[in-house]
Structures are given as structure tokens and as C-alpha cells.
Amino acid sequence: MTVKSGARVLPDVFGRFLTLSRIVALKILLKPLVYSLCTKGRTGMATEEDSAVKEPLDLIRLSLDERIYVKLRSDRELRGKLHAYDQHLNMILGDVEEIVTTVEIDDETYEEIVRTTRRTVPFLFVRGDGVILVSPPLRTA
């Protein structure tokens, strides 16, 4: 009795497994097709409007070879020409001016003394994890 029902269940499970694997196989086959369709649409649009700003990083792409302002963690600011960047906001800047702002407390008056230290570096790689904001050059100035 138990053997019979077991035998009846077995092909059923096997059949289900077959259909399941068929669906998976279909998905795997379709994936590159769907993918290529998506990328086709993207590249097609990119050639039409190369200067369009569609995502935040496009703003930085348009600042390539321009002087930008970068605000960094630990009260640092940079101004320099953008030569390269990636999606982490790692950057290579040229003719860089770095401004470091430090605040000291006067021992007697307890007043805050704000000091800025400036220095220039010809070429600088900046690691992206320190970046707070990137601003394109001021076109109005």
C-alpha cells in the first residue's frame, strides 16, 4: 500500500522538478536577451544626448577637465582640475589647493579661534570615502 502510493507520488514530484528546471532554463536563456535590450536602449540614448544629466554622477562627468570644489571629511576642502574619477568618487585632481580648517579654543577667553591652513599640490589622488560633496565650477563668476 505504502509502496504503491509512494510510486504514484514519485513521478509527480519528478514531473514538477522537470517543469521547474524548464522555467529556470528559460530564464537563463532569456537573461542575455533582456540584458542586451536594456543596454541597447541605454547606449542609444547616450549617443543622442551625451550632455544630459540623468544621474548624479553625470554632473561630475560634465566637470571633467574643469576646476571643481570638493568638500571632504575632517574639515578639508579641495579646489582643483578634475582629471579622473570613478563611481566611488576616487579622483585625480591637478593644481590642487587644499584648505584645512582647524578650531582652537583660547585658554583664557575660551574663544574659538578658527585657523585655515592652505597648501598646493601639483597632482593628487583623493580616496572617495572621504568625499562629502563635489561641486562643479561656478559659471556665473
Binding site: 547606449t43 547616450a46 554622477l57 553625470d58 562627468r61 571633467l64 577637465d65 571632504l72 575632517s74 582629471h83 579622473a84 574619477y85 570613478d86 563611481q87 576616487n90 585625480i92 591637478g94 599640490v121 601639483p122 597632482f123 593628487l124 589622488f125 583623493v126 580616496r127 570615502d129 572621504g130
Partner: protein, 95 residues
């Protein structure tokens, strides 16, 4: 995974660079190698401000974890601007 800066630093192997860390320590040395995380190995190192960090005097070569790097000062003639622009644009399209 992008390889823009990885490949760039690989081309810079053998050159003198100054690596500035997030704890304000600046180490100058010859770039020995770099990996995909931008971990850096320096040789013939010397600390830029030796009075401030005398405990690093005897360190002659070191491995620097990529995540503790703030800046890398690059040699001015080690930057091919056109090449960087092209690589960045390619990366912006593909990424």
C-alpha cells in the same frame, strides 16, 4: 568592479609617491605594488614629518591598507591627462 585607478597605480609602480593617511601620517616611498582594493606596498619609506612620528624611523618598507589612505601625491610627470580623461569617460559610459 572598476579598474581605472587600479590600472593607473599599476603603471606608477617604481615611482616615488607620498601617501597621506587618514591619521595625518604622510609616508613617502617607492611604489612597490598595488591591488584591486588600492592597498599599497611602499619601499624605501620615510615619514615626511619625522619629528612628529619618530616611532616610524626604522620602518623601511610597509603595506598600507587602501581604506586608511586619504591622498596619494603623484609625480607630476606620471599623469597622462588625456589617457585619464579617456579612461574616465569609458568608465562613466560602462559603469
Amino acid at each position: 568592479m572598476t579598474y581605472l585607478f587600479f590600472s593607473y597605480f599599476k603603471d606608477l609602480v617604481g615611482r616615488e609617491v607620498t601617501v597621506e593617511l587618514k591619521n595625518d601620517l604622510a609616508i613617502r616611498g617607492t611604489l612597490h605594488s598595488v591591488d584591486q582594493y588600492l592597498n599599497i606596498k611602499l619601499e624605501n619609506t620615510r615619514v615626511v614629518d619625522q619629528d612628529k612620528y619618530p616611532h616610524m624611523l626604522s620602518v623601511r618598507n610597509c603595506f598600507i591598507r587602501g581604506s586608511v589612505v586619504r591622498y596619494v601625491q603623484l609625480p607630476p610627470d606620471g599623469v597622462d591627462i588625456e589617457l585619464l580623461h579617456d579612461a574616465t569617460r569609458r568608465e562613466a559610459r560602462g559603469g
